[in-house]
Amino acid sequence: MGALKGIAVRLRALLRPAAADRDLDDEIALHLELETAKNRGLGLNTLEARRRALAAFGGVTRVREEHREARGARWLDETVRDVRIALRGLRRGPGFAVVAVLTIALGIGANTAIFSVLDALLLRPLPYRTPERLVTIWNHWDGNPGGPGSVSPAEFFDYLDRVPALRDLGVYARSTAILGGEGEPVRLPTAFVSAGALRVLGVSPAVGRLIDPAEDVPGGPSAVVLGDGLWRRRFGGDRDIVGRRLVIDGVPATVVGVMPPGFRLPDDLAQTDAAELYLPLRLARDSITIRGSHFLSSVARLAPGTTVEQADAAVAALASRLTQEFPSDYPTKMAFGASVLPLRDSVVGAVRPTLYKLVGAVGFVLLIACVNVANLLLARAESRRGELAVRTALGAARGRLVRQLVVESLVLAVAGGVLGALVAVAGVHTLVALRPPDIPRLDAVSVDGRVLAFTLAASLLTGLLFGVGPALRAARPGNGLALTLRAGGRGAAGEGRRGVRRALVVSEIAIAVVLLLAAGLLTKSFLRLLAVNPGFVVERVLTVPLTLPAEPYAEPARAVAFYRELTDRARVLPGVQAVGAVAGVPLVAERGDLGLEIEGRPVAPGDQKPRADWQVVTPGYFRAIGMRLLRGRGIEATDGPDAPGVVVINETMAHRYWPDGDAIGRRFKLGGGAAPGWVTVVGVVGDVHQAGLGAPVEAEMYLAHAQFRFWGSGAVLRAMTLVARSDGEPTALAGPLRRTIAAMDPTLPVGTFRTMEELRGESVSRPRLLMLLIVTFALVALVIALAGIYGVIAYGVAQRRREFGVRAALGAQPVSIARLVLGEGLRLTVVGIALGLAGGLALARLLGGLLFQVRPADPATAASVAVAVAAVALLACWVPARRATRVDPTTALRTE
């Protein structure tokens, strides 16, 4: 109670100093009056009584000052005065101030930009109701480490019914659908959701309602929920939209509601194209027998009082029971299992390690900025030794001097911070404009109050970090008046002082080397990635994804006929060398795999079946994409629905299952009841990096579009990507191809035309972004370090002007003087490089997971970094070295 009142008194005194002063004046007046009255009562005259009262009281002014000090007001006054003095001092040395503020701004700006990304991605809660209670289930098995989209329909019902630790569970799958009916037909990103998914996320519709459980059953009433963007864009935000009938994939669907603005499913948080149509998933409980079709993403809410660990144990136990109940679906060698993890980890898990590395790198940039400014401050303190010595002699307490110097640093830091915030805003704009794919919640990245609070905190911390050391040093008691004044205020920079500054420069170079090493490794890794032969000819290929609506293309023969007709017409267009269609284009498409039964090779119970990734292609695809046919033939027009089933396999698959090179003519059967049943290997093609340049090549088989039948294959057959090889500029084919498609079906929406080169660029955009950021940070660090070494060497030259003059007078050649200066710079650089390489090699191991075909301890990269840093550091020392050779002996000696 008393303590609280004490704080209140303090606060009132600080916030309303005038009122506190008035109160005191009233008290003093009364005191003097009463004392005077008492003295008069003793028989003194008024004047004498008053005089004695004043004498007994002591100095009124001093009491007022002490009172203010006790209130803490004096502290405030002095700080304001220190800030004024600091500003005046910085105006006197504008060069120093500009360099220091710019250095800090770079450091703070880079850190603020990265922090804003970190904040949006990792620190802020997901945009759902009580997101900390949301989890997701990842299934994993041999060859699949787990991830979103790894639950099969049958497993969904198992988890829903048999895991009490999960209060509610929903699943969804991303796809595309064609919105027709009124206006131009468009292909839109679409989510098929179970009714539970939206309920689990706790989303409330902006208009109408969400998908009802009665609609989420096979044959249920038609229903669609629109995304906010689509609703505003296409329907003008019409609130009477509910009940309107649209045509989706050729089938009528009734609008039941509109999602709130900004809503995205968890998987969509990482996508640039979030779903705009939400349709009921309509899984059938009893008709689902295929357990191996893993394509659903899940979202679940923990039961009250349940922890993630408990839910994880429950789900893992159920997965283990499932492998016993369905041994043919989950053979022992498949090592099927399931785990529960917080939804946030699932959404941002992939980028988290990379982000932490960026934070580390950018932290180094700030550190090097601090070291550099500390160095500048030391240099400045040396030139101000006279001033400080005189002030000490005049009675300034050491504490006051230290405080004033620290305040000066803080002023610099805050100025740097303000400028840094501007740098950060520009940086974040650039980052968002680059639109790196696969980075979740990028639209949430912005420089806001939280981020600016971080900037302020970072600035103040930085100011203290680089300010306190030099301030304590400068105001050291040994920094005596006599010593300094006797030395004439010049030339007395002790070896100790210069030693500290040299050590700082060495550490700057070391930090820069660490960052450059990381940048070098990532650059080399990226170049290696680009140099990977994708297995096809990337140049002069244009692609466009097409999705035929279910109506009237539901019958597979209709879809097959459409693509055959389209490729036939496109092939004869001028400029087209070859054309075909494929289910998923290489480098960007997701993969699916199927179990196989190879003729004459029964699989022992418990052993895992042979598996291979599958693709569906039309005749002409191999030629269009530029794949190499190694043996046999490709998929031909004669491989129709009634012809014997054929398959073309890649080299990896041929080696794995027919290592003797006799794959052609062998037969195997596709798992899961996929038609055409038995297929015969008719050809072997060269390996293609289907899953990305950095991903290993898997066994892969290419099935004929006309023959492929599978559970859900209707959608696969309808959604193909047209691939055309041009004899010139591929984008020139876009117009003719578009007209050809429109001539066949004018209601068909046409996706975006992309060249294969563009797709290759996008497939490596994440490593490219990381490389660009680290290279930028490393170059900033290098520039700061060079400024540091230049500063120290130049200062040394200025200090030793007289010495150089004497040397010149005694006949020293300019070359030997230059060598003297450069030698010192080189010594510092070499020590810095050695320390940096040692530290860098230790830290480079952290990059291991991000490097492609480059070992962290890469001698070539280390050597190039060392040589490059040494070269530019010598260049930085060259300027002061030249200045040293030009010292005119007579002027140098005369100024003494």
Binding site: M1, G2, A3, L4, K5, G6, V9, R10, A13, D23, L24, D26, E27, I28, L30, H31, E33, L34, E35, K38, A56, F57, G58, G59, V60, R62, V63, E66, H67, E69, A70, R71, E78, A397, G399, R400, R403
Partner: protein
């Protein structure tokens, strides 16, 4: 930064605080009242500037040991009255005990030499 303080200053300041608290154990007083009571209790032996009371009062109030209130005197004058808080009352007891221990120790040392 406060002025450099000599040890004797510190002792005096600590003592003054204790003495002020002591004068307030009986009844709330205003500043001049405290100064009169101090002189009276010390029989005029304590010679401090009366003005130094006021910063001391401010310190004690910030520490939460005393609280103040503007009231009217018998002569109808507005005056700031200080009184002990519960915390202050406890502090007087503790300070007094520690002061007595200090005096005993000093006394002991001085006697033994």
């Amino acid at each position: 930064m406060p002025d450099p303080t000599s040890p004797s200053n510190d002792v005096l300041r600590g003592t003054l605080d204790l003495l002020i608290l002591r004068t307030l154990t009986l009844a709330p007083l205003h500043g001049w009242g405290i100064s009169q009571r101090l002189q009276q209790l010390s029989r005029g032996a304590l010679d401090v500037n009366q003005g130094s009371l006021y910063p001391a009062l401010q310190r004690l109030e910030q520490r939460g040991w005393i609280e103040s209130e503007w009231r009217t005197t018998e002569n109808n004058r507005r005056a700031k009255y200080y009184q002990l808080t519960t915390q202050g009352r406890r502090a007087v007891g503790e300070e007094l005990a520690s002061w007595r221990r200090y005096v005993d120790v000093v006394d002991l040392v001085l006697r033994s030499t």
